[in-house]
Symmetry: C2
Subunit: 199 residues, 2 copies
């Protein structure tokens, strides 16, 4: 890896941390340069514009999300086991204080950019749409495998799962409720129980 790629990677790592706490609006070239002990212009040159930096951050976050959340789930058996792993690693992603001290970056960005037209909003919406598709597809597979009810609505399953995750973030990060993760796991168990075939 060349020097440039190395520096760029270090910038992205630091910027991800900062953005998870402050959002895209809250990070600035100058602040990142200070933290990385380099000049504003030197850092800036790696991206060409702040918007380009933001796009790169979305890609970097998506890459890491796939590695830490999706890949482990794909190694698990199709159907319910995969969904169990998916949820667990999803929680883990959000609780990783080292890489994302401010919690899941996508949650923070979702409400920040949803009203701001432009490539950043478009890209995030696309990524998050894909994520909902993955959740939906995973539920569909569980139906095919006979793990879940045949009449389950997979999209509704994805919706409910997203709600459990968002509520966890809200309880944990704003309300500082220590039982947030437990509550999320309870709701998840209930969601699974409702998805099972009648017997």
């Amino acid at each position: 890896m060349s020097k440039g790629q190395q520096t760029r990677a270090a910038i992205l790592t630091e910027a991800l941390r900062a953005a998870s706490v402050e959002g895209f609006q809250g990070i600035s070239i100058g602040m990142l340069a200070d933290r990385l002990k380099m000049s504003k212009s030197g850092l800036f040159a790696h991206f060409g514009s702040k918007e380009e930096l933001e796009m790169a951050l979305l890609d970097e976050a998506a890459q890491r999300f796939m590695d830490t959340v999706w890949q482990p789930a794909m190694k698990a058996p199709r159907g319910r086991p995969r969904i169990e792993v998916l949820f667990k690693s999803w929680l883990g992603w959000s609780l990783n204080h080292e890489d994302l001290p401010g919690g899941c970056l996508f949650v923070a960005l979702a409400v920040e950019v949803d009203d701001k037209p432009g490539p950043v909003r478009d890209h995030l919406a696309e990524l998050q749409g894909q994520w909902q598709s993955m959740l939906t597809r995973s539920a569909q597979i569980a139906v095919q495998e006979g793990h879940f009810r045949a009449d389950l609505d997979p999209k509704q399953f994805a919706y409910d799962l997203q709600g459990i995750f968002l509520a966890m973030n809200y309880y944990r990060r704003l309300l500082r409720d220590g039982s947030a993760v437990d509550r999320a796991e309870d709701s998840f168990r209930s969601l699974i129980a409702r998805a099972l075939p009648l017997h």
Copy 2:
């Protein structure tokens, strides 16, 4: 109402609209002054600092929230009917494009300030904690009335309700999913059904 109070009210209304779209980070004294066709310093004088403006906005939003969401619910019969009204007016609050073009202000602020220590974060967390208490208490009352199962966990009920609401915002505002409200209502019906006594 004196001239000063009148102007202050106009500022708060406009600032609420702006903040629902851009968040507290995204609004500035200058921008609000432009929109209201007054001077920066004239507007500024009403609050003394931007932080004071933000605190006033929290109070104003909380006031309006109580009027549009809580009061109607309190007029409904205790128990399940009250919770039905509560959820409906809560959705209405979030969909009121006139006053909050960017959607529920509390949702936007929750993720924006959750990592920024200070009076604004403290106040928002207090308000939202109260809201969760109200939801929890409403579920408790429904248990007392015999509308809900005796072994229902009211806090978990509040958690799930919050998740449904947050997912609705996410689907509607970021993903622009036209069925977001329908999905929220479906999930709500399912939540109620699970809360009912066995029979």
